[in-house]
């Protein structure tokens, strides 16, 4: 079942001589429960792609359909609500709220949507992430790996249709990176969660379902379960 479709996406920055075509006619789709990775060198357009899909940036052309709804066919306010309810984000620099503890950071997106958190579900997520005995700690009292795990919990709690992860292991060491990847894979399988991840670390992609490469704004699908040495 397709959860996301990108049709002919184009993004151009600047004009005239300073014009940069960050994305050129990108088209692909993601199925529900798929864990896909987008690889590419810096400047290839991967972050632009993620930002457009996450409705954080507006494309110059093309369509993005999430669960059949045209993201840029809606008004700004509708898109904000849609993004809040359907897309989860994991950033390279975690972006946790320093004044809230682990549990509060995780349930924060629910509170933003005026929803009552189901504490049974929160307990389960804390257990899966291995953070039960840290639930009242502040982000400043956690290691990098633990903070990223909190960020993952925060992305999972609303059960969004799509999770976008921008270099989730960029600030972590190798061991923590592998742990985070395992958690993301487990979330993808257990909760049938669709995840789109950007990375430039080829060692991480052995457990993803699908790999796509962006190079100079053009996207190529490298298929599934591929172990290529990427330069």
């Amino acid at each position: 079942m397709e959860i996301m479709e990108v049709q002919d996406l184009c993004k151009t920055y600047g004009e005239g001589e300073a014009k940069v075509d960050a994305l050129k006619h990108v088209s692909f789709f993601l199925h529900k429960g798929e864990f896909a990775a987008v690889v590419g060198e810096s400047g290839s357009g991967k972050s632009t792609l993620l930002n457009c899909i996450g409705a954080l940036d507006e494309p110059t052309g093309g369509k993005i359909l999430i669960d059949g709804q045209n993201l840029f066919g809606m008004g700004e306010e509708e898109r904000t609500v849609f993004r809040r309810r359907n897309i989860g984000f994991i950033f390279q620099s975690f972006h946790l709220i320093p004044e809230l503890n682990v549990e509060q950071n995780i349930i924060f997106p629910l509170l933003l949507d005026y929803k009552k958190p189901d504490f049974g579900q929160v307990d389960q997520i804390l257990e899966v992430l291995g953070l039960q005995d840290r639930r009242r700690h502040l982000p400043g009292q956690l290691s990098g790996g633990q903070q990223q795990r909190v960020a993952i919990g925060r992305a999972l709690i609303t059960k969004p249709k799509l999770i976008l992860a921008d270099e989730p292991t960029g600030n972590l060491d190798r061991k923590n990176s592998r742990d985070v990847m395992a958690l993301l894979t487990k979330a993808s399988r257990q909760y049938q969660q669709t995840i789109l991840m950007i990375t430039h670390n080829p060692n991480l992609i052995s457990s993803v379902d699908r790999v796509m490469q962006v190079s100079d704004g053009i996207l190529t699908d490298l298929g599934g379960h591929v172990n290529e040495k990427l330069s």
Binding site: G68, G130, S207, G224, H225, V226
Partner: protein, 409 residues
């Protein structure tokens, strides 16, 4: 207040407050108007009385003190009662009062009617808009039950009704996914049955042939012996095949329950490697185990042992003499990880995607004996226990299989 999240409700409540506010203003105005009217009636009365008294020659001073008098006596009240000017008299007898009352009533009704009408119109408008939305939702939900998901329920706004619609749509999608899953199960069963019959065809045909040959030459001792042995081999192969196939199918169908208990990782791996270490020695290959001997793992012992054994066997199958197969394990706060790595021929790029598919034999395997179910079975066992089995390989250098379980510490 959660009622105010919904924009339509918020607009409605704001308008109601506005209308009620204007109503209050209307009443304040009417109170002031009433005061003015009363004042005007009173002064009119005093004017007419003064005029009459002056005409009759009463001194102005007496009239003024009469007007200023604020106390009423019994005699005074009795006088008024005698001429019929009491509260019980109908208002109509006093034409100017009556006129004033009618004017007041007219203005009051007119001014109060406006907010009242506005309130009624607004309420009906609000309810009608909601009604329209409910009807629209109903038609979209009926389309969902017919499997048509083209239109979506309105969900992208604040308010509980939109969250309700969102939940309904999720429910519809979940139901649809479930029906798809059922269809997939049917297809899966069909494939399994077809796999079984396909795989059995060849050894059964061979058996048939051998038995025919034996039947034709029952006296020929050498032929009987030779083909009896071949028959035995075929039967063994069929038995292995059927058992392996049933195992994989049962696990994939979810009909196997894994009983998780705490096992020593080292003991588990040692028992998995027990038979294979003999073979390794015979073939001149090394089998190494690395990891914390005290490490415990929560899993189904016998099934996991089988999965690990399959991986080790696969590693031995693909290494040459003098090769090394290493089984190592480590535990971090979030995961328990076990790897089976070898320095053998590796897996080619075009094969690696298919390596966990049933009966997949790479062209490079070169006629090796084996059913092609070892890896799929290992994957099913690991995934059935909520673990992950992944592979990475460099052709010519070696392969690493990784089993990952989330720690439940």
């Amino acid at each position: 207040m959660c009622v105010l999240h919904d924009r339509q409700s918020r607009q409605y409540v704001t308008c109601v407050i506005g209308i009620v506010g204007s109503f209050v203003l209307v009443i304040l105005f009417l109170a002031w108007f009433h005061g003015k009217e009363t004042q005007s009636l009173l002064f009119e009365r005093e004017r007419t009385m003064s005029s009459s008294l002056m005409e009759q020659g009463i001194s102005p001073a007496m009239i003024a003190s009469a007007i200023k008098n604020a106390e009423s006596t019994r005699e005074g009240a009795a006088l008024l009662k005698k001429i019929g000017h009491t509260e019980t008299a109908s208002v109509r007898i006093f034409p100017n009062i009556y006129r004033s009352v009618r004017a007041f009533a007219g203005i009051a009704a007119g001014m109060a009617a406006l907010p009242a009408i506005a309130l009624a119109v607004m309420s009906i408008h609000f309810l009608w808009k909601r009604e329209k939305m409910y009807r629209q939702a109903e038609s979209i939900i009926s389309q969902f039950s017919e499997g048509n998901f083209e239109r979506h329920l309105p969900q992208n706004a604040e308010g509980s009704i939109y969250q309700l619609f969102s939940a309904v749509e999720e429910l519809a999608v979940a139901l649809r996914a479930q029906s798809r899953k059922e269809q997939q199960m049917k297809a899966f069963l069909k494939d399994t049955i077809s796999d079984i019959s396909h795989q059995l065809k060849t050894p059964l045909a061979a058996l048939h042939m051998y038995t025919e040959i034996i039947a034709e030459e029952p006296g020929h001792k050498e032929i009987v012996e030779r083909f009896s042995e071949k028959t035995m081999q075929s039967l063994e192969r069929i038995e292995q095949l059927v058992q392996a196939l049933l195992k994989v199918s049962r696990i994939d169908a979810g009909s196997i329950v894994f009983h998780k208990e705490w096992h020593s990782a080292l003991a588990l791996i040692e028992s998995a490697a027990a038979d294979l270490s003999v073979r390794a020695q015979k073939e001149g290959k090394k089998l190494i185990m690395e990891g914390d001997p005290a490490q415990m793992l929560l899993c189904d012992g016998s099934w996991t042992r089988e999965a690990v054994a399959n991986l080790i066997k696969n590693a031995l199958d693909h290494t040459d003499e003098g090769g090394v197969v290493t089984v190592s394990w480590e535990c971090s706060p979030a995961v328990f990880r076990m790897t089976v790595s070898d320095d053998g021929c590796g897996i080619a790029e075009e094969d690696i995607y298919h390596v966990f598919k049933r009966f997949y034999r790479s062209k490079r395997d070169g006629g090796r004996q084996g059913i092609g179910l070892g890896l799929p079975l290992a994957k099913s066992i690991v995934e059935g226990q909520d673990g992950i089995l992944s592979v990475s390989s460099t052709p010519g250098e070696g392969t690493v299989f990784t089993i990952t379980f989330l720690s439940n510490l």
